[in-house]
């Protein structure tokens, strides 16, 4: 997107030039009669005008958009981002290599070793990764499915869209109560399962099933947003391409796998990144559902960070934050790379 936009003005200018040349060369006799004369006249006018236009163009290249005003508008934001994110993050990097902030003794990577060897961190990292690994692909697949459903010519589309999007606007805290009613050991889901299938009750929140419950909450909340992204991507596929494929006798599934999925692959990557970031916010759901002491498989990185904040262990905090940042950058970098590889032949 970035690159394209930058290229645009150049190609635009080229097209203009070509257009100008064509108009100039176009033989007037092609259109006989008054119309032709008119055209010829207007062409002459155009030629006359073309000189000042060139002047303007020169001016344009001189008047570049890098004005002091445009620069000045960036200053508040940059100052804020540096003060609250970039500068303290550099300090965090610095702290992560120190013995303690007072003695300031350089200890190399030993803080990192300590964090990585910490069993609480290991559990938290493992749980967070598992949770993301389960819920992110599910979010991508199901939201794509919803988008495909709404892409079909079904009635009441906009109403369905509203329904799917509405969970996004419901604060987690508001929905926690009903979620507890549903997933409690004595809750309605177990009751329903017992009535319908004669199943023994499952302790959803206090067993390994809790991961599933949280993933369902995640999907419930995030599918709508992702669905919109996919719907946009699907509607951006050139219609004639699909029509041609259909005329050539391609079936619906072929069109889906060879055309649609290929075209929306950049969006797949984007939705994956977005879902990954959102999956790190799942702590909210977990905390509001289970409080400070969740079932062990729901002990997430944020729990670990909260506990470390409480003991104010700066070295541990710093190195843990850095490890997480590096892992995030690595994963997202990998995803962006795949987008570049896959997206190459699609963007012309």
């Amino acid at each position: 997107m970035f690159k394209k936009k930058e290229k645009l003005p150049v190609t635009g200018a080229k097209a203009e030039d070509k257009g100008a040349v064509k108009v100039g060369l176009k033989p007037a006799p092609l259109q006989p009669g008054a119309k032709g004369a008119d055209k010829a006249l207007s062409e002459q006018e155009g030629k006359k005008k073309s000189k000042p236009r060139e002047k303007f163009r020169e001016k344009r290249s001189v008047a570049d958009p890098n004005t002091p005003f445009a620069r000045a508008l960036l200053i508040p934001s940059i100052l804020g981002v540096i003060t609250f994110f970039v500068a303290p993050f550099l300090i965090v990097i610095y702290y992560s290599f120190l013995d303690n902030p007072i003695a300031k003794e350089f200890v190399g990577f030993s803080n990192y070793g300590a964090v990585l060897g910490n069993s609480a961190f290991q559990t938290a990292a493992k749980n967070t990764l598992i949770l993301s690994a389960v819920s992110v692909p599910a979010a991508v697949v199901f939201s794509l499915l919803l988008a495909l459903l709404l892409d079909a010519k079904i009635p009441m589309k906009s109403m369905f869209r509203t329904f799917f999007l509405s969970p996004m606007m419901v604060p987690v805290a508001s929905i926690v109560l009903i979620w507890q009613v549903i997933f409690h050991y004595n809750g309605s889901l177990n009751y329903m399962l017992a009535q319908l299938f004669d199943l023994a009750p499952i302790d959803w929140m206090k067993s390994d099933k809790s991961l599933m419950v949280v993933s369902v909450l995640f999907l419930w909340k995030n599918l709508g947003y992702n669905m919109i992204l996919f719907m946009t991507a699907l509607s951006n596929i050139p219609k004639d391409l699909i029509e041609v494929a259909r005329l050539e006798g391609a079936g619906g599934i072929w069109v889906l796998t060879h055309l649609k999925l290929r075209y929306i692959s950049p969006t797949v990557v984007f939705v994956t990144i977005l879902s990954l970031i959102n999956s790190f916010k799942l702590f909210r759901e977990v905390y509001l559902l289970t409080g400070d002491y969740p079932y062990q498989s729901l002990y997430l990185l944020q729990h670990f960070m909260n506990n470390t904040f409480r003991s104010l262990d700066y070295q541990k905090l710093s190195s843990a934050a850095l490890i997480m940042a590096l892992v995030m950058i690595f994963i997202i970098g990998l995803l962006v790379l795949t987008e570049n590889v896959f997206g190459e032949d699609i963007e012309e």
């Binding site: 508040p76 994110f85 419901v170 710093s318």
Partner: protein, 303 residues
Amino acid sequence: MTKKKKKRFSLSKTWSNILLGIVTVFTAISAVIFLLPTVLTITNSFMAQSEINANYGMIFNTVTGNKTFIAEKVNLKFIPDMVSFGQYGTFLLKSPDYLLKFWNSVIYTVPIVIFQILVALGASYSFARLTGKIKEIIFFIYIVVMLMPYQVTLVPNYLVADKLGILGTRLSIILPGIFSPFAVYLLTKAMKRIPKAFSEAAKLDGASEFRIFTDIYMPMVRGSIFSVMILIFIDYWNMVEQPMVLLSDEGMYPLSVFLSKINSGDTGLAFAAAVVYMIPSMLLFLYGEDALVEGISGSATLK
């Protein structure tokens, strides 16, 4: 040739109609499932505390005396036996704690939304207009900061709040919120979609840079501004991580954290509070759904 084509078309039409019917029914069912938890929360908020006790006593341990009736099984009910506004009355008049926490949420969210947008409007204008390598590097840093989860950014935020002496105050949450690069990113993308020809034409007509900003760029991204506002609002209305780490006084917690700490006797009240809490975001959503959808659509790539 044409005959054959026609035949195939009509045949496939009946099939596609049946398929379409199935798809519609399936979509409708899943759409209703998506709406259900919200609807249930709302309807349950109209139950009197005694009815909540009776239905959900097993879950929230609301046994306060021997006289209260508790059903053996949990009854998830759509419609209360008796519609009661009592919980709302209690919420609004008799429980200053909940109201205070609601007010806390407002105090955090409103300044963050307004000032993040204001700061971002300027910054995104710069990013959309400026050229050059340095700008791109800065924008890249913004994206990286934006992609970091709270687990990472809270450490620098804590550090800086500590250094500035605002740790434990409301400012420690509001200030990082204002400068969060999220709005900058989305608005920059919106402003980059504005053709350069517009600003160039305005310049030729003698418009100042300030006029280009206020009379061309701002009005043209109005929809995006609204959708970004909704997105920021819901994110901070929902906040849990920041107050837990940055605040020590639980009296300053927003309702989003406080709602999970209900006393077992107050379940009915909590339902009412939950509904009141979702009203602002729901109203925003119903009012601005189209702008929101457009805003989301415009953000469909990372770069």
